[in-house]
């Protein structure tokens, strides 16, 4: 290997080492949500697609142990009202640190929310703001609870 190639390899190693050694402040990522068109009548469904780093789990919305922090998605908007939030079916996972199997989400999953137009909604574009509270662990450690801010573009018809 000549000196240039060696330098590139060394730089790559350093960069990868820095990434591998870094803390994991956010193991859960949210895909950009699709724009919501709010009709005059009826309900609409919004989807939030999430991706969790391999090896980690987040507690489901209904954990089996009282001390665990559940996942919670809440919305705040003057244009729509939340009818219901539908979390995916949780996975039951055995853990070394819990007598009861854990109720968790892992990998890629989706949360659906049913909305209806708010009575005082003004027609036109806007944003729907959401907060996703979660707490992630792997089999050796847990990360502090986090709240992700979600912003969904919408158009009130």
């Amino acid at each position: 290997m000549n000196s240039k190639n060696f330098f590139i390899s060394a730089a790559l190693c350093t960069l990868a080492g820095a990434v591998a050694g870094a803390q994991t402040p956010g193991v859960l990522s949210v895909a950009d949500p699709a724009k919501l068109n709010v009709p005059r009548g009826g309900e609409l469904t919004g989807s939030l697609k999430l991706q969790l780093q391999p090896g980690y789990h987040v507690n489901s919305n209904s954990p089996n142990e009282e001390y665990l922090i559940p996942m919670r998605l809440t919305w705040d908007s003057t244009a729509v009202e939340t009818v219901s939030v539908q979390y995916p079916k949780p996975i039951t996972e055995k853990s070394d640190f819990s007598e009861k199997p854990l109720s968790v989400f892992t990998g890629d999953f989706e949360i659906l929310t049913k909305f209806r137009r708010a009575p005082k909604a003004s027609p036109g574009p806007g944003f729907l703001h959401g907060k996703l509270r979660y707490q992630a662990c792997n089999d050796k450690m847990c990360l502090p609870p986090k709240t992700l801010e979600v912003k969904v573009p919408l158009l009130v018809e």
């Binding site: 590139i8 790559l12 591998a20 001390y67 662990c137 450690m141």
Partner: protein, 179 residues
Amino acid sequence: MRFRVMCALTAALLALSIGGCVSQNFRDEIQIEVKPASKRNPAPDFEVKDANGQAFHLADYKGKVVLLNFWATWCGPCKVEIPWFIEFEKNYKDRGFAVVGVSLDDDGWDAVKPYIESRKMNYRVALGSMQIERLYGGGEGIQSLPTSFVIDRDGKIADVHVGLISRNDYQNELEELLH
């Protein structure tokens, strides 16, 4: 030339990924040991109040071996360690040892006090703050729980454990420092 550079990059990435796997496996197998005394840094001092409202400094423990454990009631792996620490406190107290638990629960004593009582925790527990977290975890604070610092009699950090390790690993380190 470009082809050779690409080959070198590919080889470097491959070596890196294999190396990462090997070193991870190696880490799982190696015996955990305290740092040599000459390489230990001082444990930063802080003042906190315990569950009885009594203020204390970490520096008050100088002359003792201390296991400083950052934990939270919502942390499953932390729950595994607590019975070990209760036992260590009981067995090693007379040899100059103490466990100091620092809870990072957002709900404060409302969450922590009932937990202390239900688990019959016999060691001192305090509530953490961002200031203490930064002293021990840098700018972002403590990012993973449990995180434990094993502190020698001179108030220096002999080892740090991020995540759950075995009871025996803790015990071996404490025995070495208490010797």
